[in-house]
């Protein structure tokens, strides 16, 4: 059908062969040879089959990609891409209400596992929306967001276990303390821009973690804090006691009640974050944030107080991180410094960037994909392994647990390479003259702060 086919075939073959050669170097040295425990000291062991399989996989994969793209041609590939993008945009209008309905109905249609996963996803949605204020709206690159999450979690844990304060008293305190720390971080970095800001925020996150890890008298160090009290619903507890939720409403006591309550609690908190962000975008403050992201010099020339704008962005973002942290501590009843490592900051930032930086819907979708995707895959494989024909799926599900972070990292790279501007790459501007029209994300500045 195409006379250039043999040529394309040869080129693809050559490309694949080169890739396989490189893969042999990469995998041969670290997968093929590996360090093992010998009788006296370390020895070297080999894994030839795995290496051969990996090299073969690279060969086939590269061959497929090169051959396929040569066959399709550049123009058609571009057209195909555009069609997909347009369909997604059109679907997007129905997506937000649909997702909200699904989120509201989840406890009624899903089991315990689905609710737990939903809660986890919603924590990340909330963190994503909180960080979005700093990164997406104000354009300040923050690599240490997890610090505020940690401040919120430890505020609640310490206040409740040492002073016996309840969740609802501590929630605002946690948020305020986190906001305070946001200001503490904000002051020294006011003059920094770009990657200097990134590295200082990263360092700040590490400092907070190291301090939590070593200040044993306050935080119990690496052992963490246990027995953190659970939140109550207007004084009703979720246990089998006399003042329990089940007793009050005359229901049969079930541990599911608390799970569902926690789910709706985080859903409410996340929606609060969303609502506040959307409202703030209409206030002078939110407009100043977006103006700051677009052009800092123009902002200063127009008399916008840069100090106040930046600090308020840090503080607001940090406050929601603090709320999420308090919820996290209340839900798990146990926290330790291990939960607040850099990977968490990176995950939340990846969610914001993958969501299209500033798009509320995109952030929620990205959290669903990044956090829920892995869980869904594992669960799907476990379900599949129930039937005897697919017994291999069970061990594959076990492997996914082991390979989870590897897959996560690869997915992060792949999604950036395929869609660098995020899943939702259109934006509705906050201010418009006559009619509000969707604009491409490429036209939105990313900020230099």
């Amino acid at each position: 059908m195409n006379h250039a086919l043999p040529d394309a075939f040869r080129r693809a073959l050559r490309d694949a062969f080169l890739s396989a050669l490189i893969a042999l170097g990469l995998f041969g040295s670290l997968v093929g040879l590996h360090v093992a425990e010998g009788d006296n000291g370390l020895i070297l062991a080999t894994r030839p089959v795995t290496t051969a399989a990996l090299v073969g996989l690279v060969f086939l994969g590269r061959f497929g990609i090169v051959f396929w793209s040569a066959r399709l041609g550049r123009r058609e590939a571009y057209r195909e891409k555009r069609v997909i993008a347009e369909t997604l945009t059109r679907l997007g209008r129905f997506l937000a209400p649909g997702l909200l309905l699904l989120a509201l109905a989840l406890p009624f249609i899903g089991g315990r596992y689905a609710i737990d996963t939903g809660t986890l996803v919603l924590i990340y949605v909330m963190l994503g929306w909180g960080l979005n204020i700093v990164v997406g709206l104000a354009g300040l690159l923050d690599l240490g967001y997890v610090a505020f999450y940690a401040v919120g979690a430890y505020s609640y844990a310490i206040l409740s276990t040492s002073f016996g304060l309840g969740f609802w008293t501590c929630l605002p305190i946690s948020g305020l303390l986190a906001a305070l720390w946001g200001m503490v971080l904000g002051f020294p970095v006011l003059r920094l821009r770009g990657d200097y800001l990134a590295i200082v925020t990263l360092a700040f996150g590490e400092i907070i973690r190291v301090v939590i890890n070593n200040w044993v008298s306050l935080t119990n160090g690496p052992n963490g804090i246990t027995g953190i009290p659970r939140p109550t619903l207007f004084g009703l507890e979720f246990n089998a006691g006399p003042h329990s939720f089940a007793r009050f409403f005359g229901l049969h006591p079930s541990p599911l009640h608390r799970v569902i309550f926690l789910y709706y609690l985080i859903l409410g908190l996340a929606l609060l974050t969303n609502w506040v962000t959307l409202r703030l975008r209409r206030l002078p403050l939110g407009r100043a944030w977006e103006a700051l992201r677009e052009d800092e010099i123009a902002c200063r020339s127009l008399g916008i107080n840069i100090t106040r704008t930046k600090l308020s962005a840090f503080a607001t973002g940090a406050m929601f991180g603090g709320f999420a942290g308090a919820f996290f501590a209340a839900r798990n009843a146990f926290i330790s410094p291990e939960s607040f490592v850099f990977i968490e900051s990176a995950t939340v930032l990846a969610i914001v960037v993958l969501g299209g930086m500033g798009s509320q819907l995109g952030t929620a979708l990205a959290a669903l994909v990044m956090v829920g995707g892995g869980e869904a895959l594992r669960e799907g494989l476990l379900d599949l392994s129930q039937s005897p024909d697919f017994a291999w799926a069970g061990s594959a599900a076990g492997d996914i647990g082991e390979y989870r972070m590897l897959i996560f990292g690869l997915a992060m790279v792949a999604m950036m390479v395929l869609r660098p501007r995020g899943l939702v790459s259109g934006r509705t501007p906050s201010v418009a003259l006559a009619e509000t029209r969707e604009i491409a994300a490429e036209l939105v500045a990313e900020g230099r702060g």
Partner: protein
Amino acid sequence: MAYALQQLINGVTLGLIYGLIAVGYTMVYGIIGMINFAHGDVFMIGAFLSLVALLGLSALGLSSVPLALALTLLFAVALAALYGWTVERVAYRPLRGSFRLAPLISAIGMSITLQNFVELSQGARVRPIEPVVHGGLRFLQSGGFTVELSWMQMLIAAITLTVLGLFTWIVRRTPLGRAMRACEQDLKMAGLLGIDTDRTISLTFVLGAALAAVAGLMFLLYYGVIDFFIGFVAGVKAFTAAVLGGIGSLPGAVLGGLLIGLIETFWSAYFSVEYKDVAAFSMLAIVLVFMPTGLLGRADVEKV
């Protein structure tokens, strides 16, 4: 006095290792303006490649230590360079010209990937190796404390300075170095003048990875124990060093590395080991507050 001198020696050794890694960061940043988050993990891979090579050579029955070290260095540098090249090709080149945060996220993803790749392929915990080089120079005894400058530390200093000298020569005197400096000044203009910018950037990653592999070998020899997580800690410290020295400046990276190494060592010796990272990072914040472009960095010109 003797104690302080010993700390100075230890700090400089550590600082040289940081400096080697920091050069890779600063070079990549200078040319394409991105934080190569996976660089620390390339350093970790260099350390593991060195371990694999050392074990392999001893299994083959090679008994001459200098020859074994030289072969290990070659093996680690060559393959780590291949890793550096692949990382750039797979994760960064498709994002060239994209917006600033995309390569950063891609780099963080690559860093997670490399860490877990090594954890899965080499095991989560690796036992320490036997010291390869023993002994040292003892001098200045005071108050029951002897200052020791071990052969290992001298070896590290010698190799690091040789490699850095070689590297400076490449950047200053060769056509590749000229192309790199041109790309650093203006990538688009360099391309217009006929420099193959993609190739130059690739080679920059290769050179950076090679330096990181040298640092990895030094780290393995000095501490004797490595795991898949050393890349993150060392990477963050080295990046801190690069920023402290003024990112984009090669002498600045080495200077920053030495400073971070010294701060860390002296803080551990006189105050507390637990808070040594806090000291290093706080130092970074303080320096940046007063000198926002680092010690030797050039100030960005703001264009309106």
